[in-house]
């Protein structure tokens, strides 16, 4: 039953490394609190001028329930064969931004699914933390 022996080493990432990893993300997961409990969905993300942005539909639960509320955004990369990876978590308040106030540089945010996603959501990080797991040697 015990599989804790010989596991990989988990280390905190420096803030610099967290930001560098966030700069390259295309997909992450947004978690928020509903009255009945937490919810989490994957979204396409981009880091623009120090804030994380995503787009969704104006009428979505995400917009209704997140606007002005604290959210957590998690991004990671996992390598199953080597049992290694990293994860960065950002906390901040979700602001829904009108089309006119969306920065030009947001063209880097590419949304994969088809459909009108006219609600731009900006999350200014209030804290950022991350961890890296180095795989244990096998054999």
């Amino acid at each position: 039953m015990d599989s804790t022996r010989g596991g990989g080493r988990l280390a905190e990432l420096r803030p610099y490394d967290c930001w560098a990893l966030l700069a390259g993300v295309q997909v992450g997961r947004v978690a928020w609190c509903r009255p009945e409990g937490p919810s989490v969905v994957p979204v396409n993300l981009a880091l623009v001028s120090g804030a994380l942005w995503f787009r969704t539909t104006l009428g979505s639960a995400l917009v209704r329930e997140c606007r002005g509320q604290r959210v957590a955004i998690e991004v990671d990369q996992v390598d199953i064969p080597t049992r290694s990876g990293w994860s960065v978590v950002v906390h901040g308040v979700a602001q829904v931004i009108e089309d006119d106030d969306v920065p030009e540089s947001l063209h880097v945010l590419e949304v994969w699914p088809a459909g009108d996603r006219t609600a731009y959501v900006k999350v200014e990080p209030v804290d950022v933390s991350g961890r890296r797991l180095q795989g244990a040697p096998t054999g």
Copy 2:
């Protein structure tokens, strides 16, 4: 600025497909609500007899704050080159299970990081949903 055209098709997964995908997972993300807002961390997971299980340290925030509370667990697989993937989200209440009450079949739950993770957490799903994104043809 508009990247909604020509995107991939997003479709709901049938419950059968959600369960089949959950059966193969090794990593997911647990979201829960803290007084100050949501939090989310990656964990190693296993589906055993219809419940999702993970292990963590007894003194962790996850155990202190999740015990008896509703959590959301998200698992996904993303393929960046084809902009496709799937995601399954499970909601349920987290129960911390004593060592003696952990089923033998839980040996399938392999925890990658080293360290004592003696708290077994079981989440009996109260709802399961998922979506698959088929990549748009390129060119």
